[in-house]
């Protein structure tokens, strides 16, 4: 970018980037508004409610973003469908091949290799297009939306749901919804943030999900197998692109840092509160 000689490759098209944008917006809002209710006795929760007006505004935003979540959940299926059609594979092949979003045996191998690498017992694994932790992130969101979304609907329409389920299931739904959400936000704001942005190699952030492009060197180094496959198939030139304009790069960083900041602040507040509440 600064250096025009640096070559960039396209990693994400507009559609997945847009989906991730929706995830960030909705997830942060859901986490902030939801955690404010879960930790209502905490000062930071009161401040959030105060800033937004009242607990009713929290609820309204939470429901609005739930709708956004259901939308991106649906759109993900469309993306998957598109990818499947593009890949020219059968559905089963699409699900099972090694660059599928579904974890497979190769991911298990790479996990073991990774730990060996951590301890200096082996070289860095030859990661492909998706590492196992990226697949876990994806699956976690998938799982999370299903569980949190399902229980959330229960809490949103308790009168309707209790036409079928017993009243105390609402209590159970509350526990699942709230603890799963705690897990999801805790995971995203620490593990995902570290793996993707904050680890020393990437620090302070990796803008690829916003810009869609990454330096070719980085691809070579981090995803040697993907690079090798691209070279082998002769498709490397197809993915080489111009770097994004500078203004977009800056905006991406501002947006990214804001999201990181909100997430980290929230997770620190939560950790602090949990230590304070349980100890």
């Amino acid at each position: 970018m600064e250096n025009p000689q640096v070559k960039y490759v396209q990693r994400f098209t507009v559609f997945p980037r847009f989906l991730h944008f929706l995830v960030i917006i909705s997830f942060l809002t859901l986490a902030v508004t939801g955690m404010a209710l879960k930790f209502a006795s905490e000062t930071w929760a009161e401040i959030i409610a105060e800033l937004l007006g009242s607990f009713e505004v929290l609820g309204a935003l939470h429901r609005l973003m739930a709708v956004v979540t259901f939308i991106y959940f649906g759109l993900t299926f469309i993306l998957m469908y598109q990818n499947w059609r593009k890949s020219g594979k059968s559905l089963l092949q699409f699900i099972l091949y090694k660059d599928s979003m579904i974890p497979n045996l190769n991911d298990a191998k790479e996990l073991v290799q990774t730990f060996r690498w951590f301890f200096g017992l082996g070289p860095q694994p030859q990661y492909g297009r998706w590492t196992y932790w990226e697949k876990f992130d994806f699956m976690a969101v998938f799982w999370g939306v299903a569980v949190i979304g399902g229980t959330g609907l229960c809490l949103w329409f308790p009168e309707t749901f209790t036409l079928v389920i017993p009243g105390y299931w609402i209590n159970i739904a509350t526990i699942i919804h709230s603890d799963e959400a705690l897990l999801a936000s805790g995971f995203i704001f620490t593990v995902h943030f570290f793996n993707t942005h904050l680890r020393p190699e990437k620090f302070p952030m990796d803008p690829v999900i916003f810009t869609g492009t990454m330096p070719l060197d980085e691809l070579k180094h981090e995803r040697p197998r993907e690079y090798a496959e691209l070279v082998a198939s002769g498709k490397l030139d197809e993915v080489i692109v111009e770097p994004v304009p500078r203004w977009f790069f800056v905006i991406s960083h501002i947006f990214g840092f804001t999201a990181l900041g909100i997430g980290l602040t929230l997770v620190i507040s939560i950790i602090f509160s949990m230590v304070y509440l349980y100890l």
Partner: protein, 672 residues
């Protein structure tokens, strides 16, 4: 005795009497007639001598003939004068009136006077001392010594201060005649010439005069009321403010006898308007500069603002200065000197009695100078009824009145050691205070509605109107409907027989910061109030959505204890009247959740996932979720922990490569 008398009579007198007997002798040969007596006794200079003093034996024929006994002959009384011959024994025996007036004689004989005579008391009055001798007149006759107008003088002959009798006899009452003359009775008699007024004999009787210690006396404690009531027949009605009516008949010994308040000879009217009118007082007290130097050197104004008094309730009721400032004494100059403090209980006995039992009264009794006495609240000369807008005890002015001492930092607030602070400020912010001062609602409760005006006592005192035992009644003065509802709730002592403390009005509503129940402030407090006793229920409530949301801004809108359980009609769910009973619970939830149904009400509003026995599903769900959470974080925690050092190494490697490339590139550039 006769011989002894003879010795004492002088020689001249002796001869004179002999001569008289000689002259009279021929006339008295036959029956002795009045003419016979008057032959000698009509001589104006006929005298006898006793103890060296001459005394007249003259009988005015005209006076005697006009007297009651004028028809009776001399000898009908002087029986021993009826002798043959000229001379009758000398001196004659004392006339015994009882010969004719035997009933009266007997009464007299048993009276104080009669007994004194029996005991040879030289001052003992005999019949003639009051009735006269030859000049006895009917008591109807204005000239009679026993005519009502003359009785004080007749009695005063002996009972006036300074006579031989008063000097030699120990009589507990002094200045009897002087006091009587200034009393309402004496004034009626002497100044107004009223013959219906009471004189000595009206109370003491004429002949049966007995000491007040004698139970048979008309002035004994038992009888004096009866005696006064001979004239003051309806006196009970005039004393209803002081003495409860039924006591007059049932237990007369318990109530004071007339004379205990109205000094027997000093009946008070002497100090009333006529003798000491307000103008007389104002001659001095109308002067704004009138001051008194107190013992400690302080100056105190004695000025009485007439305008102020003109508008007072006492003026309206025509109460004169002297009716309150009672201890006037005509001997003093001025009469009001050292008259002391006004005692309002003279008229307001019941109120003062109540006050004396209050904290204010008890402090005043201990001479605590901070203690408010009557005038502190009611004022002095300008006392106005509580209906007057200007009166300090007009409802709207009461918070300020009480606030004079009870406002934070003032003397009563400084003495107070309880938990209520800023009470006046809080009251003014409360629904009662704002109703009174902002909306001008005169039915709003002020200090005195709850604390009473005169029996103010701390809440800890069981007699206090704001004691937990009594406060429901205090609030029920206005909030009767609520109180009736409350009486059938589980919190009412009528329903719950328990040793535990049951809540009363102020436990939930507070005492001075009472607000509307639908305000955010009050709704926020409900949880604290109920939580004081129902701690576990409140804790678990905070584990649910209602509780959590209630802690956030705007949280007053979520369901609070009373929204589900009710407020004053609160009952356990197993009571059919409870809002949480199966019959009503759906309706109760519907207030906020219109789509509420039977299963919906199965939501556990006080659920906790910490109670395995009560809520196993919640308990295991919670621990399953926690396990998932801990497991995930444990794995990725370790993963991250090991990644960090490797990641640092990778970064440094990359940087080294960069710099090496940069050097190589630089070398290449230089070469080229």
């Amino acid at each position: 005795m006769i011989q002894a008398d003879l010795k004492r009579i002088g020689l001249g007198g002796f001869f004179l009497i002999i001569a008289l007997f000689l002259v009279l002798k021929p006339v008295t040969v036959l029956a002795v007639t009045d003419d016979d007596c008057l032959d000698c006794h009509s001589e104006e200079d006929i005298v006898a001598e006793k103890d060296g003093e001459e005394y007249s034996l003259y009988v005015d024929e005209q006076v005697f003939l006009n007297s009651l006994h004028g028809e009776n002959g001399c000898v009908s009384c002087h029986e021993d004068a009826e002798v043959e011959g000229d001379e009758h024994p000398f001196p004659l025996a004392r006339v015994d009136c009882a010969n004719c007036h035997d009933e009266v004689g007997e009464i007299y004989a048993n009276s104080l006077h009669g007994q004194a005579l029996e005991a040879n008391d030289p001052y003992a009055p005999y019949c003639s001392d009051c009735h006269g001798k030859h000049d006895i007149l009917s008591h109807d006759n204005r000239k009679s010594r026993t005519f009502i107008m003359n009785i004080p003088f007749t009695c005063g002959g002996c009972h006036r201060e300074g006579t031989g009798m008063t000097k030699t006899h120990d009589i507990s009452k002094h200045n009897v005649l002087e006091n009587y003359s200034m009393s309402i009775h004496g004034e009626g008699l002497l100044r107004k010439g009223l013959t219906v007024t009471a004189v000595c004999s009206s109370c003491h009787t004429s002949h049966n005069v007995l000491p007040h210690t004698d139970p048979n006396s008309t002035i004994s404690r038992q009888n004096v009321v009866k005696t006064c009531m001979k004239c003051h027949a309806n006196i009970e009605d005039a004393h209803t403010k002081i003495i409860r009516g039924e006591l007059w008949e049932k237990e007369p010994h318990l109530i004071p006898a007339c004379v205990e308040c109205h000094g027997p000879h000093k009946a008070r009217r002497v100090l009333y308007e006529d003798s000491l009118n307000d103008l007389f007082c104002l001659k001095c007290h109308g002067n704004p500069d009138l001051k008194k130097i107190m013992a400690n050197g302080d100056e105190r104004s004695l000025y009485v603002d007439v305008d102020n008094f003109e508008h007072s309730i006492h003026k309206e009721k025509r109460i004169a200065c002297a009716k309150c400032h009672v201890n006037m004494d005509h001997k003093n100059n001025p009469v009001c000197q050292d008259s002391g403090k006004v005692d309002c209980s003279i008229c307001h006995a019941q109120v003062v009695d109540t006050y004396n039992k209050s904290t204010h009264g008890m402090l005043a009794a201990k001479n605590n100078k901070n203690a408010p006495i009557c005038t502190e609240c009611h004022g002095t000369h300008g006392i106005m009824p509580k209906s007057n807008y200007e009166s300090p005890i007009f409802a709207r002015n009461i918070p300020d009145l009480c606030g004079r001492c009870h406002r934070e930092g003032e003397k009563a607030a400084l003495l107070y050691t309880g938990t209520q602070h800023d009470i006046v400020k809080h009251y003014q912010m409360s629904i009662h205070g704002r109703g009174l001062s902002q909306s001008g609602l005169m039915v709003s409760a002020t200090c005195t509605n709850c604390h009473t005006a005169h029996s103010v006592l701390p809440a800890s005192n069981p007699e206090s109107s704001v004691n937990p035992k009594n406060i429901i009644s205090a609030c029920a003065q206005c909030h009767l409907g609520i109180a009736e509802k409350f009486s059938s709730s589980i919190h009412s002592p009528l329903v719950s027989k328990t040793d535990k403390k049951l809540p009363v009005c102020n436990d939930c509503h507070t005492s001075h910061t009472i607000s509307r129940h639908d305000t955010a402030g009050f709704r926020g407090l409900i949880l604290d109030e109920c939580g004081t006793c129902h701690e576990h229920e409140t804790d678990t409530y905070f584990d649910t959505y209602h509780g959590k949301a209630s802690m956030l801004s705007g949280g007053e809108k979520t369901a609070k204890c009373s929204d589900c359980h009710g407020a004053h009609d609160i009952l356990p769910a197993y009571y059919s009247g409870s809002r949480l009973n199966r019959r009503h619970v759906v309706e109760t939830c519907k207030k906020c959740h219109p789509g509420s149904n039977r299963k919906f009400t199965g939501y556990l509003t006080h659920a906790t996932h910490h109670d395995r026995d009560k809520y196993p599903y919640l308990f295991y769900t919670f621990w399953a979720m926690t396990g998932l959470l801990v497991g995930t974080f444990a794995f990725f925690g370790i993963h991250t922990l090991f990644w960090i050092p490797r990641s640092f190494r990778e970064r440094f490697k990359k940087r080294r490569q960069h710099s090496r490339q940069a050097i190589l590139k630089k070398d290449d550039d230089e070469k080229s």
